[in-house]
């Protein structure tokens, strides 16, 4: 069974958008529940944006650099591996944000360190996937 490259792109894009939205929501939830001071929201948002900047810029670049969207077929295995790696990277960040927003004792420095250090360190999981689907037009064509 084959999956089209555009469908894979949409899946991956949705995973990242849900991830960043969830993390932002957790920050606002932490602020609303009095876990952090109001002015610290900005510091936390900056670390989330910094973590998501590389993957989202590759994704956005992929959409805007192609003049015409060509529908290609990719194998199902490649598709699921790509989705799994993207999910894993996002879950590592989302779990930290969820834990921060729901626990009774934590520290903002731990949250910021997690996003500043774990997100780039884990980029090996998604760098290849994103390059394959969004940065290299030719490789999206799979041998039948």
């Amino acid at each position: 069974m084959k999956v089209t490259s555009s469908l894979a792109q949409i899946y991956i894009t949705v995973i990242y958008l849900v991830g960043i939205t969830f993390n932002i929501a957790m920050i606002f939830s932490s602020e609303a529940s009095g876990r952090i001071f109001d002015d610290q929201v900005i510091i936390m948002l900056k670390s989330v944006f910094a973590a998501y900047a590389p993957p989202l810029s590759i994704i956005a670049g992929g959409y805007f650099s192609f003049k015409t969207m060509e529908i290609r077929l990719v194998s199902k295995n490649v598709f699921w591996v790509a989705v799994s790696f993207s999910l894993l990277w996002n879950i590592i960040l989302m779990w930290r944000a969820f834990s921060f927003a729901t626990s009774e004792s934590d520290h903002i420095d731990n949250f910021i360190n997690h996003f500043n250090e774990i997100a780039p360190a884990g980029m090996f999981l998604v760098a290849g996937v994103l390059t394959f689907f969004f940065a290299n037009k030719e490789q999206n064509e799979i041998e039948q």
Partner: protein, 250 residues
């Protein structure tokens, strides 16, 4: 001949001076005894701890001077002639005198102390952190205000009190103590600076209370900018402790 006599006399004089100086040096090197005459000072705790502005001693001792009516302990204040006190100080000795202006009649060295290994943190607020504004109270009772003040503050600030002298007046800087009654996930701590001023005429004591407050949320560090809730609770706390210090309430 005369020269020889002079020489011998000079050598003997030199020897005598040397002996005198050596004996003076030896006498001064003898540590102050904690027991002398009918005095008794029993040091029960003398621990050196490191703090951000240097070294602090945590001391606790019993003292008894039966022949005196009261004793003035440097940096602490006027106390009954017999009792026990515990406080933190940046000092190497305890000086007992008749009053704040009299020379000490008894001194106890604290140099033979236990030095804590590892980290034993005492978070003392810096004197510069306290504002210039203060609240003033007056102790009108005949009993010792210092003793009353130490009892009240030791109960409320279990991490300790630093006794020191500010403008030659005994003063106390407390460690931080938690503020109760704040909304969920807001934590506040308060520290006080209390300086005494004795009025010579009627022996009554006026004292000034300055306070600093810090606040944190459940997931943040401490900061000195505080919210309205914390300010209100802190002001109530100070009003309450003022009432206790002047003896209006327990």
């Amino acid at each position: 001949m005369v020269n020889q006599i002079r020489k011998v006399a000079f050598v003997k004089l030199e020897k005598a001076v040397r002996l005198f100086l050596i004996s003076v040096f030896c006498l001064s090197a003898i540590p102050a005894y904690s027991e002398k005459n009918d005095f008794e000072v029993k040091i029960e705790k003398n621990i050196v701890v490191t703090e951000r502005e240097g070294v602090i001693r945590a001391i606790h001792f019993h003292y008894s001077f039966p022949s005196k009516e009261s004793v003035f302990i440097k940096n602490v204040g006027l106390l009954p002639a017999t009792g026990q006190v515990g406080y933190l100080c940046r000092c190497d000795e305890i000086e007992f005198s008749e009053n704040e202006s009299a020379p000490p009649f008894h001194t106890v060295s604290l140099l033979d102390s236990i030095e804590m290994m590892g980290r034993f943190n005492i978070m003392m607020p810096s004197l510069q952190e306290f504002p210039s504004s203060y609240r003033e109270g007056r102790w009108n009772k005949l009993s010792s205000f210092t003793l009353h003040k130490l009892n009240v503050l030791n109960q409320r600030f279990p991490s300790g009190l630093l006794s020191l002298s500010i403008d030659n007046q005994p003063s106390i800087v407390t460690t931080y103590s938690s503020l109760e009654g704040l909304p969920k996930r807001i934590y506040g701590e308060i520290a006080l600076l209390i300086s005494d001023e004795s009025l010579k005429a009627d022996k009554k004591v006026t004292f000034r209370v300055k306070f600093i407050v810090r606040e944190r949320r459940s997931h943040t560090g401490w900061r000195s900018e505080i919210g309205n809730e914390t300010r209100k609770v802190a002001e109530n706390y100070v009003s309450d402790i003022m009432n206790v210090l002047v003896g209006r309430s327990e």
